[in-house]
Amino acid sequence: MKKSHIIIIVIIAAAIGIIMTTAGDASTYVTFTDAYKMASQGNDESIHVVGELKKNASGEVIGILEGADKVSFSFLMIDENGKEQIVQYKEPMPADFTKSEKVVVIGKYVGEIFMAEKILLKCPSKYQEEGAPVRGA
């Protein structure tokens, strides 16, 4: 066998390895119900949940509770299946949070509360090339 063949085989193996590890390390988008099920089955992986903030009839965000020291807060989020859930975040409220049109929380259930490690926001009509990032977990 020629050397170049060996190298090509190694490269192909590495590529397959990369795809496999990506699939293995990838998180998933789930609903709160599934996330709860996962947590109660002892699966402590962090997952993504997509949803919206709870709003009242006039469109104001409700259910935000700030910690006394303003360094943590919790909020009510409704996932794509309409399930409402208290989400706790141990960081100050990210900028533009209440204006967001869609929220993605990354984290897991601890008891009955969803503990977010990271929050991603999607804000309406404001493209910011590299704006408004949220501090990573």
Binding site: D25, I106, S125, Y127, G131
Partner: protein, 843 residues
Amino acid sequence: MHYWIGNVGHLCVLIAFVSSAVSFFSFFKASNALNPQAEGWRKNGIFSFYIHAIAVLGICITLFTILANHYFEYHYAYNHSDSKLPTHYLISTFWNGQEGSFLLWMFWQALLGIILIHTNKFWQAPVMTVFALVQAFLSSMILGVVLPVIELKIGSSPFILLREVMADAPIFKMQPEFVPKEGNGLNPLLQNYWMVIHPPTLFLGFATTLIPFAYCIAGLWQKKYREWVRPALPWALFSGAVLGLGILMGGYWAYETLNFGGYWNWDPVENAVYVPWLILVASIHTMITYKNSQTALKFSIILVISVFVLILYSTFLTRSGILGDASVHSFTDLGLSGQLLIYLLVFLLAGIILAAIRWKEIPSSEQEASVYSREFWIFLGVATLCMMGFQVLVPTSIPVWNKIVDIFGGNSNLAPPANQVEFYSKYQIWFAIGVGLLSAVGQYFWWKKIDKKELKKELQTPFLLALLLFALIISIGSVTNPVYMLLVLAGVLALVGNAKILINLLKSNPNLSGGAVTHIGVGMMLIGILFSAGYSRVVSINNTGLLYSREAGEEFNRDNLLLFLNETRTMADYEVEYLGPRLELRENNGFIDKYGVMLTDDRDYVVLTRDQQIDALKLKKGDTVRVYGENTYYEIQLRKEGKTYTLFPRAQVNPDMGGILSSPDIHRTAIADFYTYTSSIMRPDQEKEWSKVQELRAKVNEDFFANDFVSTVTNIVRVNEVPGIPLQTEDVAVKATIQVKGANQDNIAEPIFLIRNKLVGRVSSEIPELGIEFTLMNIHPETNDFTLGYKTRQKDWVVIKVLEKPMINILWIGTLVVMLGFSIAIYRRYREFMLMKSKGQEV
């Protein structure tokens, strides 16, 4: 209303689109040398490309005029700027929106197109065909034309009016001519000098990747399979340098401005430019190999096409809204995803098909590369770079994969890894080790054909030196992680190995030293990245043993330092003290003490309540000054060995945004950066908790203690003016001046006692520095003294987090060295070209 200027803009966009299409067609015709009218078509192509370039310039000038004159009837100006922004930030609002950044990209490409027209006539027609086609696609992105009948919108125009965007807003229904007084403004995080220079650099990098691609396509098309590499190579080098610089500037901006504590976060947006850059660097290597030994031509073709396609793919990822659920950056889909996809697919397919048709004709060497040949080692390096890119590309593309599965009726709920930094770092470090080792060893093969014995001899000295340096670094840096050790070794080997080659080259032929210099820089960068990221540590450890907050969690309580005003704490080897809140002056450089000013209704204007001196600038009590009202800076002093350093981390409380935006300040030392930001601040809207009022009697010029502070009433006078209260003729107002000795300075409180219609009013006066408030309770003329009341509260505070980033300067110096290396290489290739030109080749 300034409609005409928008119409001029629209017209320019249309002209730009049509002229690029005409130019494409003309150059296409001219590319066929057998065409008897080729020369006429060529002139036509040049002419229309010039028209195109002028139109693009026209669009830029129009858009900038709208922004500079604050025509808020235009959506772009309203949405991205406001009238308070200084000129340099107005420039950055230009590319804040998607339309503007497309425009910036087009501008660079138009300029590069003109340079190419004039520098290389030999390749002009086919290369410009590709250029003009790309320009047509880009122009279509900002067309903003709705096709009749099928109601298809093409492009999003930067000249759209606000009322067209918000047609349903009640204000426009009642008042179609309504023009908002003020715009939305620019995100404060983007109000940074890096945002003025980073996007143009990055987009110049994007634009230059088109040049090697255009030469490659031209070469395949015109069957000049070998010749295209010569002109493509210097531009590929230029592109590699500029794109690399642009990416690093972005990282540096993130480091200086954002508070996630690093320069690289493995966000999809960052990955989307990182991957094409890696492949671009790989393609430079294969092209150089081809130039020297006629191998790797096919590989070069594949890589050069991939780079451009990856740039289009990255544009698609970041602008189509597909990353919406995957990135911390907010994106909005402008409805261009279809157009972007077509753009991507056209060039992807054109590249693949053209390469496939010509594949058999492309010359290739069947000779097997020996293990001791440079080709073999370069090939390994290139493969490593490609895999390095591939490893990032796959997870970044997860949202695309989900979409494709969706289209075929499936359901995929894969999400990117939850902890991106950890995920990517754990794999990328191995590729980085490979790159480091190969760039050390590969360079030896590069310069000499050597066999086993000679290699040993050549490598012996640098290897021993590297080992010595390696041992030194890991013991000083106490590196114990074996993987980190390997990376240090790889970095040191690359550095020392290439340094030896550089020394040899400087003696013989300094012109050829580009490669060695670049690889020295790479070695430094690897070491710098390892230490600054791998050994970044929190130094603001809570050493009081007290919990700040039960709710905030263990990490917050452990890793942050609560600083009360003027109370010294220790941190690492430093004494640290919070000196108070500051405001940044708009007209002059510098900060004024926020305690010494009175806020007004316009947050950008404050009135001084005492004299303040900022360097040479003297400000008097009562002066009104302009400040950046949205930002508060927290002056933190660090002291060590008799030296003091001052830091101004920034926090912005923005009730609209519902949060605090904090930006760090960095204390830089030779061996480490101390990266400092406010993790919690006192909120101005929060009620302060005061103690009960204590009363005492005092005489003028007699010391008394108010909450342990030595205080004296220095003066008591009748006044005719009370700030904020208009006095009537019968009113009597008396002001006491109380001097209170603080830690660093004397503070003044001036409570006022007011009698109106036999009723008493009291205006209290707070000394925020000390957290004490005085009230003039009563005056006793009979005993010639008065009653003072005072109450106290907790002193002002700020909570900071400080990260130490060791050896980060090695990273920055390394990047500069890499840029220097690129420049030397570009200069060398440019001289080659000029030499060819003077010989009459390729003119």
